[in-house]
Structures are given as C-alpha cells and as structure tokens.
C-alpha cells in the first residue's frame, strides 16, 4: 500500500532537531575527555558527562538524518518526478555545498589563525598544527568537506538511488519488508557490520573529498530504509508497539558500546572479538534509537506550530554555518578557568544567537532563502 504524498510534520520536526543536535554534539566534543586527542577546540576543562551525551547522540543522529533523507527522496521523486527531483536537489544540496564549502574553509582558516595566536593552552591537535603554520612555507591543510560531508555523500546516494530505481525491481523492497519484523532488524544490524569494521569506533566523519564506501554502505542502509518506509506506509507502524523495547535495547547497546570504548579515542582501538562486540552494539544502538526516535516523534511531534516551523526553517542554515562560529567562541574561552558546563552553555548560546542573527540578515531577505528554505518554511517566515 502506498502512502499519499503530503507533509509529514513529525519528520520535518525530527529533521530540524537532528540538525540542531549537531550543534550540541560539536560543542560537547570540546569538553569530552575521549575527544581531547583529535578535536581542534578541545578545552582543558572536561567532564565525562560530555562523552556520555556526545557519543549517545552521535550513535543515531546521522543515521536518523539519512533515514529522513531517504524518506524525503522517495516522497519528492514520486511527487515531482525525476527531473524536478534532480533540479531540487541541485538547488538545495549541491549548490549549498559548492557555495559554502569554500567560504567555510576560508572562515575556518581565519578562526584557526585566531586560535593559534590567542589560546595559551592549545589542544593536542592545535599543538600539532602550530609548527606547520609558523614555518616559513606554511603547509596546506588537507582538503576536507568538513561537517558538510553529509551533503556530499547525499549526492552520491541520489545517484545510487537512480541506479537502483532503474536496475532493481520494486518487489525486492516488498520481499524484504515481508520478513518478520525482528528478523529484519537483525538482518539490518548484520548488514551494518562490514562497513563498521572498516573504521574506528565511534564512526568518524568521512570528510575527505571522495565518497567513502563504508559511509555509503552504512548510511546508505538507513537511507534505503527511509526510502522503503515512504513507499510502504505500514513498514514503520508494525514497530509501534515495540518502541519502548527499542529504546531500551538501544540504551543497553550504547551502555556496552560506551564501556568498551578506549579512554582516549586516538589510542589503540578494540581488536578481535571485542571489536566485533563494539560494532555490533554500535549497529544495534544506531538502528534501535533511530527507529525509537521516529516512533516517538510520530507520537509526540506530529504537529505544526509557528515555533516548530521556525526551527524547521532555520535549522539547515544553523547547521551549515555553526562550526567556525562555535570554534571562535570556544577558542575565546579556552584559557578561562570556568567549569566545562558553563563554557558549554555559553558556547551554544552565543553560537545559536550568531547563527540566528545571520539567518535574519543574510538568508531570510535574500536569494539564499530560496535555496535553503523549503516552500512551507519560506511562507511561514513572512
């Protein structure tokens, strides 16, 4: 049975929350003991609670985002057709990537220069980078898609979706969804193990400027699930009664996963059977919490009001531009003797305020609004 195309408020709201949760996650890494070795704005003040929060959100935030992307891909393709879909994705995904990646790279370069000059207690990564900047012929930083890697990988998933639409029969989805629900979940978890075994845990951001096969595979599975759920409305509904179980299983998986993570993520990763347990818990945690988030959102967030529409409208812009501003604020506070919690709150408040201010100055009244805001959000912003 196919769902009739229309707006899905809980999914819109969930997407906005997933985007905004990205700001909270990136801000938390500066105060996470586990991320001290590799995070640029790592602060001398740390607390283990930031690790608990950061890696829990990291477990399912991007999988959830790719699930939603798959769902909206199927919706838009069915509603508008292939050509209109391609035009829409070029405008909303490819163009922002091309436009903002150079600007963000330049901004990050400037922020990094500020951090190197201003911070007296630099992070391990800053200490590593400092001699490269101070030498007579400064080394170029490796090219990176930064936090926009998800846009880049989405473009490849759109191409692969086209290939799958041409090559694969619709009955394949129906056959997969005909499996008993719990068996299907187990199968999905098993399918996630090969890509997760190729990368350290927790999964890193695939930010090099070429498609990372493990990321296309791992996130592609969530994307495919979202795509299938649009086309088969009852696929998600049959897990409704199990939402508490999914939440609990996700929490159990995360607890084991977190316990097995090394204290310093740069240190040697778990090997052998321990690695297998880690990636199994990572996969099951990601899947259970993604499904739980969808089911709870359908129950409690399937509504639309001016605040939710506003958040839905601003979230894309906030996510695109938050990193340089967040790092600038965190570099400014690194040497202050404040507790980590206070620094975290200030970093988030100042970053969000700056992003919202820039939204009202640079996006809402300009052509950028047409590119970054969906039609519904554009109407509600006026």
């Amino acid at each position: 049975m196919q769902q009739s195309p229309g707006r899905f408020d809980y999914l819109d709201n969930l997407r906005a929350f997933a985007m905004l949760a990205g700001v909270l996650f990136h801000a938390a890494l500066a105060y996470s003991p586990m991320a001290q070795g590799f995070w640029l704005s790592a602060d001398p003040q740390q607390h283990a609670l930031f690790d608990v929060f950061a890696w829990a959100s990291h477990l399912f935030r991007m999988p959830l985002f790719f699930f939603l992307a798959g769902f909206f891909t199927a919706l838009l393709w069915q509603k508008a057709g292939g050509v209109a879909f391609a035009k829409n994705r070029l405008l909303r995904v490819a163009l922002p990537l091309l436009l903002f990646l150079p600007l963000l790279t330049l901004a990050m370069h400037g922020v990094l220069q500020f951090g190197l000059a201003y911070v007296t207690q630099p992070s391990a990564l800053m200490q590593l980078i400092k001699p490269m900047f101070n030498s007579e012929s400064p080394a170029e930083l490796p090219f990176s898609t930064m936090h926009l890697w998800f846009l880049y990988h989405l473009l490849f998933l759109y191409v692969l979706t086209y290939c799958a639409r041409v090559l694969l029969s619709d009955s394949l989805q129906a056959r997969a969804l005909a499996l008993p629900p719990r068996l299907l979940l187990l199968l999905l978890v098993l399918l996630m193990l090969p890509p997760l075994s190729l990368v350290p845990a927790p999964v890193p951001a695939p930010e090099w400027i070429f498609p990372a096969l493990w990321a296309l595979w791992f996130y592609g599975l969530f994307f495919a699930c979202g795509y299938a759920v649009f086309r088969h409305a009852d696929a998600l509904a049959r897990y409704s009664a199990d939402r508490r179980v999914l939440l609990g299983l996700g929490a159990l998986s995360y607890a084991v996963f977190y316990q097995l993570l090394p204290a310093d993520l740069r240190a040697q990763q778990p090997q052998g059977w321990t690695k297998l347990v880690v990636i199994f818990c990572e996969a099951s945690g990601a899947l259970c919490w993604t499904l739980a988030a969808l089911l709870y959102a359908k129950r409690y967030l399937n509504r639309s009001n001016s605040l939710l529409r506003y958040l839905s409208g601003v979230s894309y812009w906030v996510y695109l531009v938050h990193i340089p501003l967040l790092f600038l604020v965190q570099f400014g506070m690194t040497d202050l003797p404040w507790p980590a919690g206070a620094k975290y709150l200030v970093a988030i408040l100042v970053t969000l305020s700056g992003c919202l201010l820039s939204f009202h100055l640079l996006v809402k009244p300009t052509l950028l609004g047409k590119m970054l805001l969906p039609n519904k959000a554009r109407q509600s912003q006026h």
Partner: protein, 228 residues
C-alpha cells in the same frame, strides 16, 4: 548542412530512443563507477592501482557495448529495417546515431575522469600521475571514436570488433610507451601535475585526432544516400 538539421525533432526522438535502450546499462556503469572511485579513494597503493585498472576496463566496456548495442545490433535485430519505414532520412538517422553515441559515452567518460582526478587531487596519491591519467583517458576516448566511426560507416560487427581489438592492444603499448618517456615517468612522483611540452603535445595530438575522426565520420555520413 541546413538539410542535416531540418528534422531536428525526429533526431531528438531517435536519441531518446537510444537513451531508453541503454538506460539500464548506464545505471549499472554509474553504480560501478561510484564503487571504483570509492576504492581508489581508499588511497592505498593496491586499491588505487586496482581501481585504476577497473576504471580503464569500465571506460572500454561502456564504449564497446554502446557501439555494438546501438549501432551494429540495430542492423542485426532488423531494427534498421523498421527505421527505414519512419519519416526519417538517412542523414537524420546518421546524425541521431552519432549524437546519441557521443552523448551517451561522453557523459560517463567525463564523470569517471573527473572522479579519478578528484581522488588523485584529494588523496595522498602523487599529483604527478595526472598527465598520465589524462593521456590514457584521452586515448580511450580516441579508441572509442575509432570504433564508433567504424560501426557507423560499416554497420559491420566484424570490422567494429577488429578495430576494438586493435585499439585495446594499442592501449597497452601506449601506456608502456608513455611510461618509457623520461618526460612522463620522471614526473610521476612529483607533488604537482607536470604538464611539460611532451605531455601537452601528446594531449593536443589526441584531441586533434578525435576531432579529425569525428569530422571525417560526419562528412562521410552526410554523403550517404541510403541507410545501408
């Protein structure tokens, strides 16, 4: 020339027909291309070399299959006989075939070459290999143009296959020849692409030959007075 484009609507329809015929194959090649670029992007010497060989194979397979499927098989499967019953001239048909084949090959060719160059630029692979990669890719394009021209002018499976075999054999020789040139092999491990006189001359020669082959095919096609 005016006559050539007098039936542009029909030419467009014929090109669309060819697109429909090879859509599935192209989708499979596209998925294969993403997989290969991902493999090359892992930036280990083994995976980069394996990916490079697979990429060359993919470019050759795309060209060979489209020339055979869209031109030679059209005569074999009696589709050409059906075409003769349509309100199209031999020139319309010839231009549609040339246009469709070029577009359907050039699009994946450009994507694959751009993908390969992107991988090289953004990974630890030496950028010095860029001239070699570009020259080999242009040679593969030239080979494709040669057997496409043969297919279009003869509609013969035998001749077309013969040209394919010869050009594929020449590709191996071409790569060895390039690698033996000091101007090429001495710059392979350079941090930046070294476009010296030799590589630029070879590139210009390759592009020039492609233009000559295509123009000659177009002129000979235009002189045709019948479909066969």
């Amino acid at each position: 020339m005016m006559h050539t484009f007098s039936n542009s609507q029909m030419i467009k329809l014929l090109i669309l027909k060819d697109w429909q015929l090879v859509k599935k194959s192209l989708a499979a090649y596209l998925a294969g291309g993403v997989l290969i670029i991902g493999l090359m992007g892992m930036a280990t010497p083994l995976l980069f070399n394996t990916g490079a060989i697979l990429m060359i194979t993919l470019m050759i397979v795309i060209g060979a299959r489209s020339a055979i499927e869209l031109v030679v098989n059209e005569k074999k499967d009696q589709t050409l006989t059906f075409m003769m019953s349509l309100p199209v001239t031999a020139q319309d048909y010839a231009w549609a075939k040339l246009g469709a084949n070029l577009v359907l090959y050039l699009v994946p060719w450009l994507l694959l070459v751009a993908g390969m160059l992107l991988v090289i630029v953004s990974s630890p692979v030496y950028n010095g290999v860029i001239p070699l990669v570009v020259l080999v890719s242009v040679f593969i394009l030239l080979s494709y143009c040669c057997y496409l021209a043969t297919a279009l002018l003869t509609y013969s499976e035998g001749y077309t296959t013969a040209v394919m075999i010869v050009t594929n054999l020449l590709l191996n020789g071409f790569i060895i020849w390039l690698l033996r040139m000091p101007a090429i092999h001495l710059t392979l491990e350079a941090p930046t692409a070294s476009w010296n006189n030799t590589s630029l001359l070879l590139l210009a020669a390759g592009v020039g030959l492609i233009v000559v082959v295509l123009l000659a095919t177009a002129v000979l096609q235009n002189r045709k007075t019948s479909f066969l």
